[in-house]
């Protein structure tokens, strides 16, 4: 009976989470109208960056939030996705769909290999081995001189048959469609038998094993899915930035995506996107705020951002979604926080 009640609770909580997620995505669809009338075209660029990082964070969240595996190397998949575009263009392949399929294939295969090797370990060892694989790939691209090495390579926006990405807003809505598809996919994955098992593994792995399931299979599958989503975000990132360098897979970026997830709310669908919005808005506004108070130090906004992160960890458990919960605006995080 309690199990049934818990299930009902889960569905209800899920719906609320989904509602917030789709509200945010609908907001992104309408955002260009606002920037058009307010005459702020620069903010379209910021919105694209938010959607891309949000997409990558949603991918990582499947592993981090739902599966409880602290992967500290997902920036590598973003980088591989971006380099799939750069290297294909280097060899004359300009078709955007080809880039996407290539990136899905390469990131999936790489995710399978890295996931298989890394998931032999747990805890701190897992964090470190994922970091090590990411560093390995980072240094590989730093030393690949024919693809720009340290300096990176410039990229043309990908060629999508009838869609010319150089036209205004074409890239924006391509990213938006990708984000919506990823969100839709994740929504079904999280609700499915697979997603429930993944969460069960997070809370008690040996019990899942005792039920006759093989936790490793579920973990590796989720790792591959999240790698592919990050790779997809990377391919689009390359078109947005029109440039790719090993910096895209620097270990601090892995930390950044993790920050976005925890800022928003771990193990929720809307959390990563919400976190991306807040993270990038802070990145835009903190320098302005600091510049207003102490103009000489506007560039040193990190000096505020660092302590802010520590505050979030010390006082803001459950991220922004948790805060919304406490304020009574949502009912998403409580169940998740009870698990730990």
């Amino acid at each position: 009976m309690t199990g049934l009640f818990h299930f009902a609770n889960l569905v209800r909580a899920g719906i609320r989470d989904n509602a917030l997620l789709w509200m945010l995505i609908a907001g992104f669809a309408l955002f260009p109208i606002f920037t058009h009338f307010a005459d702020l075209p620069f903010w379209n660029d910021v919105a694209m960056r938010i959607m891309l990082l949000g997409m990558a964070a949603m991918g990582l969240n499947l592993v981090l939030g739902y599966g409880g595996m602290v992967s500290f190397g997902h920036a590598a998949f973003i980088g591989i996705g971006a380099y799939c575009v750069g290297i294909s263009q280097f060899f004359g392949m300009t078709n955007g769909l080809f880039h996407m399929f290539l990136s899905i294939g390469v990131c999936g295969a790489l995710g399978l290999v890295i996931g298989y090797l890394a998931l032999r370990t747990t805890g701190i060892y897992f964090i470190m081995i994922t970091l090590a694989f990411a560093q390995m790939l980072f240094f590989l691209f730093v030393s690949l001189e024919q693809f720009g090495g340290d300096d990176g390579m410039s990229i043309d926006r990908a060629d999508f048959l009838v869609i010319d990405l150089y036209e205004p807003l074409r890239l924006y809505f391509l990213i938006w469609v990708a984000l919506a598809l990823v969100a839709l996919g994740l929504m079904f994955i999280v609700r499915s038998r697979f997603g429930v098992t993944l969460r069960a593994i997070k809370s008690n792995e040996s019990r899942v094993e005792a039920m006759g399931l093989v936790p490793l299979h579920f973990k590796i599958t989720s790792y591959v899915i999240s790698a592919v989503i990050c790779g997809l975000a990377g391919t689009l990132f390359a078109s947005w930035q029109e440039y790719v360098s090993p910096d895209i897979m620097h270990w601090t970026r892995s930390g950044e995506i993790m920050i976005i997830i925890i800022l928003g709310g771990l193990g929720t669908l809307a959390g990563p996107l919400l976190g991306a919005i807040v993270f990038l808005l802070l990145e835009e506004f903190l320098p302005l705020a600091l510049g207003a108070v102490a103009p000489a130090y506007a560039e040193n906004w990190m000096i505020l951002f660092g302590p802010l992160l520590i505050m979030v960890v010390l006082f803001g458990r459950g991220g922004l979604i948790g805060l919304l919960d406490k304020a009574g605006f949502a009912r998403i995080g409580k169940r998740k926080m009870a698990v730990k």
């Binding site: 701190i124 090590a132 390995m136 030393s143 130090y297 000096i303 660092g306 802010l308």
Partner: protein, 306 residues
């Protein structure tokens, strides 16, 4: 000629190894005993380097710089633990990653505000700027030799401290089973704080010694942090002995790999292929080593927890 080169590179590798050990020794205990993922350990390296360089510039004496920087790094570690870190021990690893990541951003930016973004350079004292003949006709910089000596002395001191003293026994007990150690009436809070401060101090010493060899700049500790994490994983979390052996291995593999791998590859492949793949493979070598170790020994070479 080649023998000279090989010998010189082995010494460079040793020097890199002992420096890594100084960073890794404290960190392995922080990870092992407190189960705390501390990414801001690289900042301690930077604090040590800046303290030493700034005091050296102000007083004009390298040794006064070193002497004053050591208590400064100890105090900074002690304060950091007292103010922030101790509130994070019970949190999960991810939150620790996030909070210490915030610390990195803060320290790097604070140094940039305080000392400017440009690198500081500190000159070597005349007593250490010469060369020593390690073999006939094989001169080697005296300073680097000094770094190796200091590193080895520190390693010996840590070894004696951990294996012979009462506090060392507490540290070992803490690494093996923290709950049981606390249950036996050992004040684990103070123990943690002292380990943390000592670890910060050792990392600071590494930074001070690196100062004259590299440029002292914001973020200088991070490459060392990542490498020392590799060292800790290979050696086994919580094992000081493992950290020492792994640090020497990683230092030698990294240094020798970068110098000799391209020419070794040239024996088997065409020149162009070897020149392209050599540097790439060399910089990936330590990470490959770590992955291989983890695949065969998932808890490292000398796991401390039994």
């Amino acid at each position: 000629m080649t023998l000279t080169l090989i010998l010189e590179q082995i010494f460079n590798g040793l020097q890199a190894g002992v420096t890594l050990f100084l960073v890794a020794a404290g960190l392995t205990l922080i990870l092992g005993i407190m189960d705390f993922v501390f990414l801001a350990h690289g900042a301690q390296v930077m604090i040590g380097a800046y303290a030493a360089a700034a005091i050296t510039q102000a007083t004009g004496n390298f040794f006064i710089g070193l002497g004053l920087a050591i208590p400064i790094t100890f105090a900074s570690g002690y304060l950091l633990e007292l103010l922030i870190i101790r509130h994070l021990y019970r949190r999960d690893h991810m939150e620790q990653v996030l909070a210490t990541f915030g610390l990195i951003l803060f320290f790097n930016e604070a140094i940039r505000v305080g000392f400017g973004p440009a690198a500081l350079y500190s000159d070597l004292p005349p007593a250490l700027s010469g060369f020593v003949e390690i073999l006939p006709d094989t001169p080697y910089p005296a300073y680097r030799l000094g770094v190796i000596a200091v590193g080895l002395i520190c390693a010996l001191a840590i070894h004696l401290f951990v294996s012979k003293t009462r506090i060392g026994a507490m540290v070992r007990a803490g690494a093996n089973n923290p709950e049981m150690t606390a249950a036996l009436g050992i004040n684990i809070k103070i123990l943690f704080r002292l380990i943390f401060a000592t670890g910060a101090c050792l990392a600071g010493i590494a930074g001070m010694m690196l100062g004259p060899l590299t440029s002292v700049q914001p973020g200088m500790g991070e490459p060392l942090l990542i490498l020392s994490l590799v060292v800790i994983i290979i050696g086994g979390i919580g094992s000081v002995r493992g950290a020492f052996i792994a640090a020497i291995i990683v230092g030698l593999v990294d240094t020798l790999g970068r110098v000799f791998l391209p020419s070794i590859l040239r024996l088997f492949f065409e020149q162009a292929t070897a020149d392209g793949a050599g540097p790439a493979l060399a910089s990936m070598l330590v990470y490959i080593l770590m992955a291989v170790v983890l695949i065969f020994r998932p808890t490292g070479l000398f796991p401390a927890k039994g």
